[in-house]
């Protein structure tokens, strides 16, 4: 994400990165960034918690007006997840590899998604012909 932000910024688009891995944000030095201390997968808020989602995105966006120089400081959002149990798992150096196999087959969430995508592709092909 940081690489993309830096590229966009170099081409004239102001960017703001919102993330929940502080060390990765710091390493990537994006022009503007906001950090929320939530488990990965929740950078824009807790699921089904509209107030939390809006608060996080709003506070992050204020960085467009408040951050005046690149990469000087990451906006630290104050939102709290609740219990900190997730940290132990996220910090663990033990356990198996959680990544999926690196494969070039599209990995649809549901079988019906494949059918829908194939149907759309077929319609597109028919139009071209």
């Amino acid at each position: 994400m940081c690489l993309i932000a830096r590229y966009l910024e170099a081409h004239g688009i102001p960017t703001l990165c919102l993330g929940s891995a502080l060390d990765i944000l710091e390493a990537g030095k994006p022009p503007r960034a906001a950090f929320v201390d939530y488990p990965l997968g929740h950078s824009a808020g807790k699921p089904f918690d509209l107030a939390d989602q809006e608060d996080i995105v709003y506070r992050a966006l204020t960085g467009f007006e408040d951050i005046k120089a690149p990469g000087v400081a990451i906006t630290m959002l104050k939102n709290t997840w609740g219990d900190g149990l997730w940290r132990a798992e996220a910090s663990s150096t033990e356990g198996s590899d959680t990544r999926q196999p690196r494969d070039t087959t599209p990995q649809f969430q549901f079988a019906e998604d494949r059918v829908a995508a194939m149907a759309k592709e077929k319609i597109g092909t028919l139009k071209v012909n």
């Binding site: 950078s43 709003y58 998604d113």
Partner: protein
């Protein structure tokens, strides 16, 4: 104390005998583009690196997929899907996409006048790409082209 993901994942892979993942580490300060308008007048573009796609679109593959999905912001939330090499982080987004792809959140902020508007399509790609060259030469230029086409003022990038 914040989680040190880079160190934890590096050690985990080392314990498993795997090659270390190479994160992007910037060696210099980033470029800077000044914001031209107040937020309340700005058109915001959204990019999520969560591997989001809409029903009817192709899912991502897990070997450095460098493709982009354009998701119309009127897509019903229940038609938004995800595929990402680290599927373990998708449990909540697959229930409520807005916790990683904040389309409805930004629409609500637009309605309240906090932002001017949201671009009519949200962009998504799959993070966790091993090839930094692909990110630089394929993903980033493609995102730039689409944001320029949509004539946005500022881009919000949300990571997994």
């Amino acid at each position: 104390m914040h989680v040190n993901y880079m160190e934890a994942i590096r050690k985990r892979y080392e314990n498993l005998g795997y090659q270390s993942y190479r994160w992007f580490i910037a060696e210099n300060a980033p470029a800077w583009s000044a914001v031209q308008k107040p937020l309340s007048k700005s058109k915001i573009g959204l990019l999520s690196t969560s591997g989001a796609y809409a029903l009817g679109q192709m899912a991502y593959h897990y070997k450095d997929d460098s493709s982009i999905r354009e998701i119309p912001i009127e897509t019903p939330t229940h038609d938004i899907r995800f595929s990402h090499i680290t599927e373990n982080y998708l449990v909540s987004p697959r229930k409520d996409p807005n916790c990683i792809l904040p389309i409805e959140t930004l629409k609500s902020l637009a309605k309240k006048g906090v932002i001017g508007s949201l671009a009519s399509t949200a962009l998504s790609c799959m993070g966790g790409t091993y090839s930094q060259r692909k990110v630089r030469e394929e993903i980033a230029p493609s995102v730039l082209e689409k944001f320029m086409r949509d004539d946005i003022d500022c881009a919000l990038l949300v990571s997994m």
